[in-house]
Symmetry: C2
Subunit: 557 residues, 2 copies
């Protein structure tokens, strides 16, 4: 046997030093298992980009060795990349029922249903792919039907937690399987990959049930219509809204495509208990007394096109928020979304609504779905891993998770904080991180996957700051006489009407530059372009302190 | 006397329904007093814009009536607009010593020193401008030398609080003058304008002294160099850093232009007590043992060009953060800055620094400079105003401040929540809000003040999302024959090399469009451009789902 055949390798294609686009690879010899396939939203520096997915070059190169994609749960940062990846690579997918239901919605939207094999697993399933045996354990999170994954390999056992918290009083969900986790730990864990989202947060994340009690209180107090907005995928939260509506004798109307989709699938698969006749169409809301109505809607993160944002700006075609209505934001803004959420609250107050918003520690309308520090220590203590790789988190979260692992006795030398692409190889129970594979961000823009890169983005950035100025001049092929122009056209730079003198000067500078070069008998047009660019650029910067992209176009006829 | 002569008018030119660019106008008859002249930073929708200042059309129209600009304190949102406004309008400025010192730094930077008269006032000053008598009262805030302003007019007394908190154990600062405020209230306040920044926050803002104790604790525990970052203008905080450095026998090096400026002015004017030989040059840091050093730097909001950000990315030309150094972020990220701050913390952990960051309620390294709900109620209770106009805040803050005013007995009908430009007129003690004046945002971009507007910004937005595609074609004047082109040039759209087929198709569509129009004997070039734009735009959208700006250029020779 050569080395590669007896090496256990673990690598993140996405999900470390970032939040989102989780994708991990476990390889033993010729068997590759992929865990999760997420997407993430671009930050404001990636202008015009719709979505980011992992770069799967490594998988494409080794496509013949890939046995399965195991998906831990149905959130976008774990399933969002699937349709894009499937267009390049056919992998059979294994996931629990609800997760698979949500994946199917995605595949349908992309016209990919039937393009790959989908297998339903549950926490008791066992799968064998060549040298790797896979089993699962139940966890809780802010969506039902989550699992952690156990990989039994000839080298030892690797555990991947997925996203989790320890909700010991879960809503409509199974309990976290502490005993199974304890068994896995007792049998020996070579390496643990555990999520780090809340590794900066002290304590123990509260149970989702606390939110239910607060929702019910707010429903009892509300005198007119109630609008409540939360992540559609938080099926537990939806159940609590339904329960509170039932207790206060209100009907529920759903707003927002993802809300309608999730409720429909979760209901169909038995993850939501909805009393008969409770759901009504938004168009039927006006047929009921205001105090008989709950509107359950998307947009709790302030998304400008979502239902809540439209309602707040009185721009929804079916429903309106009126003076005295109650609006509950059952979520906490993700960093970057604060301003959009604040705008919505401003607008709702303008409509004289009662708004329950702000810090969840005050409103009690949200709890996290992720394990806080004490729960992360609990997971580490149950698993007692020899090696530990904190995953799912930006560097400071991985760093804090490392400190937690050290505090419960993991050998500091056995903790690997990796970048996407760093490979942890384990041979004869000795782990090391010395090699890297190619990975990174694949940018999705419209229909293009990966066709926008650094140059295009750099240009978009320059264009966004100071616009573009185009100088067009037509020269005769023979004598180089100016036949037409220079014409100056700009977009995103200045108001043309108020800047005539400036643009006239640009025309003159262009003519002067051309004449000077012609006097020197220079004939390379690229050089003309370069000189016009510099002369015009310098003039504009000194007069406006702006640097538009200067695009000289020289036409010869 | 006609109406205008006996009307007291109050109007915000900036500062309501927003945070920043505070500017208020009080007018009685022919006497206009301006209060504050701030700037604010643009949000991400205002692409390329450097700064926003108030639109002062109203002041320009009434320049002969303006008696004074009164500045309540030296923060950017109260003084940042001054240099830009002075270029259009000469107004004498009245402010306290430190405030005036900070204004002078600005005027110097803009080459405007000496262009207007500057008058130093203190909390005991009295000014008379025609029918208006002005006096002041001491307040506390996160910068020393703050005042509230009292306007005695023939119609009654108007009070403008400026920014304030009630710090009853201030650092190096005078106490808030409760007795003077009580006197003002006893003498009768017709209208109160009070700041609303923290109107959503329950309780009483802690004293700045609490931060000092925590800084000192952290300094005692730190084993190597300490880097501490805070707003340069928070002179109280700087004093506490100096005090802690003195107690722990450390020298202080200053990093960042605004830190050096503020320390120099505050020291010179006696607002900072700095022991002899405590300040050292950054270049001398290496001459000392690490545990003898404090580096006091700018960049606590994650500003990418500021000292802290450079230090965190090992990109500072003089100093570096080493393993075991302590870095303290003595601030709370302003909404919108969270991601930049998080990047810095990630980088500092990469350098193996100890980082004190995150929620101020846990670290104790920051307190707000603004009054919380109980303090706002205290101000309202002291002033007992007949009319109340909450200022300085986004709508939800003004709304919460209104509720606080109602809770301490202000008549709900006497509370005016206004927009910038809404005029509150008071005649015979009866206030009403029925008219508006022109105001809004004036955008500063490079050297241009107000020359970038909605069309330019809309183009920048389109350019930032999908770039621009230029189609150039040269036609003969006589027969309309295509002499050159169509050439296709793009910026910020796609990688040209990977999209040759797409761009070829654009060329063909252009030729076809031209031929079709020529067959119909159409000769208006604008129509040609429009048709090319539509044909190319539709083709690109259907093939890429992107909408670059399409710019057809037709040249005739």
């Amino acid at each position: 046997m050569n080395t590669i055949e007896t090496t256990l390798s673990i690598v993140a294609l996405g999900g470390v030093n970032e939040i989102g686009k989780n994708m991990y690879v476990l390889r033993y010899g010729d068997d590759i298992i992929v865990i999760d396939c997420g997407s993430k939203f671009p930050d404001e520096s990636l202008l015009g980009i719709d979505l980011i997915i992992p770069d799967i070059s490594y998988l494409l190169e080794n496509h013949d060795k890939i046995r399965a994609l195991i998906v831990t749960h149905g959130h976008e940062d774990h399933i969002g990349g699937i349709p894009y990846i499937l267009k390049q690579l056919n992998i059979p997918i294994y996931a629990t029922r609800l997760t698979l239901g949500l994946i199917e919605v995605k595949l349908k939207e992309h016209g990919l249903l039937g393009s790959t094999d989908l297998f339903t697993i549950n926490a008791e399933s066992t799968l064998v792919f060549g040298t790797i045996e896979i089993s699962f354990f139940r966890t809780n999170h802010s969506i039902p039907d989550c699992v952690g994954v156990v990989f039994n390999t000839p080298e030892g056992t690797v555990v991947h937690t997925g996203d989790f918290k320890f909700d010991l009083t879960p809503v409509n969900d199974e309990y976290p399987d502490l005993h199974r986790m304890a068994d896995i730990g007792s049998n020996g864990v070579l390496a643990l990959l555990s999520e780090s989202t809340n590794a900066e947060r002290p304590g123990f994340t509260p149970s989702e049930q606390l939110v239910g009690a607060n929702i019910e209180d707010a429903f009892i107090k509300a005198e007119q219509k109630i609008f409540i907005s939360t992540f559609a995928s938080n099926v537990h939260r939806l159940q609590q809204v339904i329960d509170a509506a039932e207790k206060t004798d209100r009907k529920i109307a759903l707003l927002g495509r993802s809300m309608v989709n999730v409720v429909s699938i979760a209901h169909e698969l038995g993850y939501l208990n909805i009393p008969d006749n409770m759901l009504i169409e938004p168009s039927d809301v006006k047929a009921y007394e205001p105090h008989r109505i709950v509107v359950l809607c998307t947009g709790s993160q302030g998304e400008p096109m979502a239902a809540l944002s439209r309602l707040a700006s009185s721009d929804h075609r079916q429903l309106e928020v009126l003076s005295g209505d109650t609006v509950i934001l059952a979520s906490t803004p993700i960093p970057g979304n604060e301003r959009n959420v604040a705008r919505i609250v401003d607008n709702l107050f303008q409509l004289k609504a009662k708004v329950i918003y702000g810090s969840a520690s005050i409103t009690g309308m949200h709890v996290s779905g992720h394990a806080s520090q004490e729960e992360l220590k609990l997971m580490l203590s149950l698993m007692k891993p020899q090696y530990f790789i904190p995953i799912h988190g930006e560097f400071r979260m991985l760093h804090q998770h490392r400190l937690l692992a050290e505090s419960v006795g993991v050998d500091p030398d056995n903790i690997f904080i990796v970048n996407n692409g760093d490979v942890v190889d384990i041979i004869n129970h000795q782990a090391s991180q010395r090699r890297k594979i190619t990975t990174g961000n694949t940018l999705v823009d419209g229909l293009g996957i990966g066709d926008v890169g650094t140059i295009v983005l750099r240009d978009r950035k320059l264009l966004s700051e100071d616009g573009i100025l185009i100088v067009v001049v037509t020269l005769s092929k023979m004598e180089g006489k100016i036949l037409s122009g220079p014409d100056v056209i700009s977009r995103g730079f200045v108001y043309v009407r108020e800047s005539e003198a400036l643009l006239n000067e640009v025309r003159q500078i262009t003519v002067q530059t051309i004449h000077k070069l012609q006097e020197k008998n220079i004939t390379q047009w690229d050089f003309y372009k370069q000189m016009i660019k510099e002369a015009v650029g310098n003039y504009l910067f000194s007069h406006t302190k702006r640097r538009p992209i200067i695009l000289p176009i020289i036409i010869q006829v």
